[in-house]
Point group: C2
Amino acid sequence: MYTIDATHAPQRKSWVEAANAPGADFPIQNLPFGRFRRAGSNEAFRIGVAIGDQVLDLRAAGLIATDDMNTLMAATPANRLQLRHAISDGLTAGSPAQGEWKKALVPQEQCEYTLPCRVGDYTDFYTGIHHATTVGKLFRPDNPLLPNYQWVPIGYHGRASSLVISGTAIRRPNGQTKAPDAEVPTFGPSRRLDYELELGYYIGQGNTLGAPISIDDAEAHLFGLGMFNDWSARDLQAWEYQPLGPFLSKNFGSTVSPWIVTMEALAPFRSPFVRPEGDPQPLPYLDGAGNRQQGQIDITLQVLIQTAQMRAAGETPVQLSSGRASEAAYWTAAQLVAHHTVNGCNLQPGDLFGSGTLSGTTPESAGSLLEMSMGGKNPVTLPNGETRSFLQDGDTLILRGWCEREGAVRIGLGEASGTIQG
Amino acid sequence: MYTIDATHAPQRKSWVEAANAPGADFPIQNLPFGRFRRAGSNEAFRIGVAIGDQVLDLRAAGLIATDDMNTLMAATPANRLQLRHAISDGLTAGSPAQGEWKKALVPQEQCEYTLPCRVGDYTDFYTGIHHATTVGKLFRPDNPLLPNYQWVPIGYHGRASSLVISGTAIRRPNGQTKAPDAEVPTFGPSRRLDYELELGYYIGQGNTLGAPISIDDAEAHLFGLGMFNDWSARDLQAWEYQPLGPFLSKNFGSTVSPWIVTMEALAPFRSPFVRPEGDPQPLPYLDGAGNRQQGQIDITLQVLIQTAQMRAAGETPVQLSSGRASEAAYWTAAQLVAHHTVNGCNLQPGDLFGSGTLSGTTPESAGSLLEMSMGGKNPVTLPNGETRSFLQDGDTLILRGWCEREGAVRIGLGEASGTIQG
């Protein structure tokens, strides 16, 4: 799988000073990819790498010859690693590249971003077993975790066209809802609008239709990951989702963070994939030595909220919840790749997988308001005294993630934020 | 909506002789769009219009300046109509264009086709109420037609990457299945592989995220339609589909026909949309005068099968079933557009909607083997004595559709065919 090499060495520092600040999201050990331009300009979006408080324009630095991220994502793992080393070496303090590359830096505070790549198909999985159990209880009290859950990495196709970049406002969707005791449905704005704390996995190299990717090859097809908010209208969902799954309750907008943190950057933060005792072992096509040894990724996740009232009062966002991805996810990213293709389905560079809501076992580590408020029954009280069962207009939700571990330099995923518009 | 004009006049004949043959799929009144090249060549695919037994290369004829179908699909309805008139006039017997345009014809028997456009997102609906009822009985005997069916045009997102053009072989998918009486699932090839007889609606002009398309504007956003086979692995589906819908049971391949028959061509075949007495009326956002007056399209649908044994014996395909789209579909194409966007979801030129399986009320008009064989309990006997509960390796399935009506020239949709590979 991935090896820890000189690009991860804690002693490696950058000549971009802000990258060396303790706790920075984008130290030289990270080097995530995104698409940027100067804010408010008409420039074409181009490929950049975040370093400290700057973006390195990869083409301007002479490192690549394309503005198309999907082309870059289609590269072989060996070529990707080579590019990582070239970027890392050039950004290292004392590098002779500094003089030239300085001209290829743009301060992040002057940048705007677009989707980091063209997403051909987006699939949302459901790997958060505590989320599935808690939500299952609300939708099906008698039958919370369905019999297939511990065997099948449950997933469904999402809408690619309504993926938006962090910072884009999210309009409260209209739709049909039906109260349990109502005779007929009514039409109007969703009253149970929610967020879902997810990771977004991006596919690198694809596969040909009819040619599955084995669990042992799966990691080679993953390019990296970012933060992902799968906004959900729970009242629309409850009425529409039988028998073919969620549709309008999801496809009004899904927010991705600007940066894709590569699988190479995540090498120091891998951990074993272990099935809890008593649970069924994965079928052979979902089981491999590499996956068992380091299939999971240790990522700390955090959700923050800033209400309109807080914003008016000059109050900064406050934490709603926080948890750990590897404790929430029942299936690894490699297992999702193997499962998605086992029937011959083809993946393409830039395809996006949502992890599903990554909730822990407690309300403090829940990945949605649905869970925190127990379906709206126990509203959450914010520090300023406001309460929330579901999202209100003007609420800004911010998802953050980062990796830290003894002996490694902390790396951040950045954030996926969005504000609800009425 | 659409008006009948000179391009539909029965007396209009073409200088392409085969277009004037009675019963031809592609008379001058049709003029469907596709992407073609000379078979076996390395030519780039380009936009053509089927006329009789020929394809008119639209760029070579000087009619358009692009090879990109999606650009053409994004045109305004007025511009589309203008193009239709230009093509029709030039192909009309006696047209001065004949001399030049003759050089832009390629015989269909020398052509190969690719997907008629780039499909950004593909959504599969479930408009066939008799299909929903029959299948509902098999999956949920106590609860065949769910309470939302007559209110919500049920749909779910499909996989765009595995859409294939007619003629592409379909590999039998592997996957997890679990027999009702089994303790644990097993892995292997699907044993209940099926087809689904559907229409595919293509979107023309799109909408901006957050800006719904009203039912009255919806027809203006439809470009046309073709035949669509939503191959389905019933055993995979039964085990995986709860709670988020079908996934691997569908995304191993879906077949589209080469030609998009435009909404303009279908103008003579429109009929009223009427809710059966006693059924709930559609909510206002799904109800409009135009839709009530001519929301439905009268299309005759046919399914044929040729087994490997038939092929070896030199026997031609035989009819499995036949029915009428307007009697099967509970929701019109315009209602699907209005529903899909009512929450703000954005459609893009080239997006594809599957109609859902269009079954009549009898086994002879069923759109899948699941229905014809009642879940495998009553195998279908073919004329050569073979029986089928589900598809066998080597089976070729052919979906065909056409419109005919007193006073109009019959137009055909062509066919979507595929052969099962083991």
